[in-house]
């Protein structure tokens, strides 16, 4: 049984999804989804523990040996990201019980949980697999499930947001497919480890370089790397709160992981340095941080503000990849983990506000901080983490990013990282000012604190923020091992 953990992580939610869809209405679909998500989180934890103590896992699907069969190859990077995805799913589901009852029509709730489990399957599948075409399959599974989930939002813009995301996401995935096809045509293999052995001989061919470019652009779109981020603000704003929490904390992180795999494992060391890829990552990262943070300041809708903030945080991760050094990749991986915690907590708190007053515009949430102190506390600590105040998880990732930039003597990047934090102070400050220092608006007259079932997951993530800001054994330790596994390009 323990040998099959890698496969169980994908198969269990996959089989549970249609079962949940046909369960009768009531709490049963939620209960089964919660059990499955918790089981996945436990399995992911066991997998990470096994990796750290016993080394990489290579699991052959169906007994077919690689490179002809599909191989699930797990090392420190995979296991880390799989743990993030599964843990976020496990902590989002208790939150989902009440939140979906308010926001999603009752007859659609079993289908909602079914789609959530399919999205979880897709995301876990991307992290587990060691075959680049399998990545495409799971990428599309998770994307299609997310389009369906986003379209369940209450406002009619949910449909147009889901449609826009669908068109852009499918173009991105098809670009990835073109890249995989071109690489396959020159190497004859789809297995990542095998490609790492074959590619050095064919790197000079234009086909392989073109394939690399297509794959980069395709994944950059899924990543919401500036300027390919246009789908993200609408998708996060108009989706139901639970969906925003889940997608904001997992979908872009998994795309960052795919990017790291392609750049460092599949393509041999130093190849990306010969292309403009590393400079483009730095440029796109810098542009994303500045532009998205400035956009965030001017937003009237709090969810949209946090969505633009997510685009900026992805810019930080892209900077770390662009540095291509051990500290840079470590910083990206740490920020992957911490951003999931930060944004998860913030979107959960906003979802609690939506639960109470049904709206989340700046003028409607005035003064609610005093009526909902726990929710407000979560927003404050999550916001401080976003800024990077010492004592919170965000500080750790900003620290490593600045150290990586200083190592490369990239002074502009250092300035941009710090400027990004200052801009974050502005938009987080806007949020806090509206919630606490303004008089209560009409929408929030008779509001009480959010129910405990919404507050507990939120504060679970907030405490995780504080804990991982002080005890970094798990995050930094695993991230450094993962960066070593990836084998970075610049010393």
């Amino acid at each position: 049984m323990v040998d099959h953990i890698s496969l169980l992580l994908v198969v269990v939610p996959l089989i549970a999804a249609p079962v949940v869809a046909v369960l009768p209405r009531g709490r049963l679909p939620w209960a089964l989804s919660f059990i499955v998500a918790t089981l996945c989180a436990v399995l992911a934890g066991m997998q990470l523990w096994s990796i750290l103590h016993e080394g990489a896992i290579s699991y052959e699907l169906g007994g077919w040996a690689p490179p002809w069969g599909i191989e699930y190859r797990i090392d420190a990077v995979n296991a880390f990201v799989a743990l993030i995805v599964a843990a976020i799913a496990a902590i989002t589901l208790p939150y989902a019980l009440l939140s979906t009852e308010r926001e999603i029509p009752e007859e659609k709730i079993p289908l909602f949980y079914s789609a959530m489990l399919l999205c979880l399957t897709g995301l876990l599948g991307i992290t587990q697999t060691g075959d680049i075409f399998n990545v495409f399959v799971f990428l599309e599974i998770s994307s299609l499930a997310s389009y369906a989930l986003i379209s369940l939002g209450r406002q009619r813009q949910a449909f147009t947001s889901a449609y826009q995301y669908l068109i852009m996401g499918t173009i991105g995935a098809t670009f990835y497919l073109i890249g995989v096809g071109l690489i396959y045509s020159q190497t004859g293999s789809l297995n990542m480890q095998d490609l790492a052995a074959i590619l050095p001989d064919v790197l000079h061919l234009k086909t392989v370089e073109t394939g690399f470019a297509f794959i980069m652009i395709g994944i950059a779109l899924k990543l919401a790397l500036f300027p390919l981020h246009l789908w993200l603000p609408n998708a996060y704003t108009y989706a139901p709160s639970v969906v925003t929490v889940f997608l904001a904390a997992t979908a872009t992180k998994v795309a960052v992981y795919v990017m790291l795999r392609i750049l460092f494992t599949v393509f041999p060391q130093g190849f990306a340095l010969t292309t403009p890829a590393d400079e483009l990552f730095i440029v796109a990262g810098i542009a994303g941080i500045i532009v998205a943070s400035v956009y965030a300041i001017y937003q009237e809708n709090t969810k949209r503000l946090l969505a633009y903030s997510s685009v900026a945080q992805v810019g930080y991760m892209a900077l770390g990849i662009g540095f291509a050094s051990a500290t840079g990749v470590t910083a990206t991986l740490i920020h992957l983990f911490n951003h999931a915690l930060m944004k998860g907590a913030l979107f959960m708190a906003i979802g609690a506000i939506i639960y109470r007053i049904g709206a989340c515009r700046m003028d409607q949430i005035n003064g609610l901080g005093r009526a909902m102190p726990w929710t407000f506390g979560a927003i404050v600590i999550g916001g401080l983490s976003l800024v990077g105040v010492p004592g919170t998880a965000g500080f750790i990732s900003k620290w490593y990013l600045v150290v990586a930039a200083l190592e490369q003597e990239a002074w502009i990047s250092v300035a941009v990282i710090l400027l990004g934090s200052l801009l974050a102070v502005v938009y987080v400050g806007k949020l806090i000012e509206a919630l606490y220092f303004k008089p209560v608006s009409d929408a929030g007259k008779e509001v009480s604190e959010a129910p405990i079932l919404l507050l507990m997951p939120t504060w679970g993530l907030v405490f995780a923020n504080l804990y991982f800001g002080l005890d970094t054994d798990l995050t930094v330790g695993v991230a450094e091992k993962a960066a070593a596994v990836l084998g970075v390009m610049r010393p």
Partner: protein, 118 residues
């Protein structure tokens, strides 16, 4: 001349890819965008399958007396990709139906005038 005639499959792929992408970008009707997306995806299928063809090879079905087969793996990959494409089209069409019900139109500029959402 061989540049054009010898590589005619790539020219077809490029033509379809550009037609598909241009349709997605330039057409305002939501259904036409979906059609453009489909044409774009079909071009990728052609790319894979034409790359998988082995000169002098027969169809990749085991038959007696045949020694060279075309590569079956691209066919399998494209079957998966076709399924993904069909599922995406179905989801997109369902979304367009709901958009039509809520907005009363499926033209992108009219929706933008109503809502600034597209």
């Amino acid at each position: 001349m061989d540049f054009f005639v010898g590589h005619y499959n790539y020219w077809i792929v490029i033509f379809l890819m550009m037609v598909g992408l241009y349709t997605v970008i330039s057409r305002g009707n939501l259904i036409k965008k979906i059609i453009g997306l489909n044409i774009f995806q079909v071009s990728v299928f052609f790319l894979y399958i034409s790359l998988g063809n082995v000169e002098g090879g027969a169809a990749p079905i085991i038959t007696e007396g045949v020694e060279i087969y075309s590569n079956p793996l691209p066919h399998v990959l494209i079957l998966t990709a076709i399924v993904v494409s069909v599922a995406t089209t179905a989801l997109a069409l369902a979304l367009v139906i709901r958009i039509k019900e809520s907005y009363g139109t499926i033209e992108e500029d009219e929706i933008h005038n109503l809502d600034h959402s597209l």
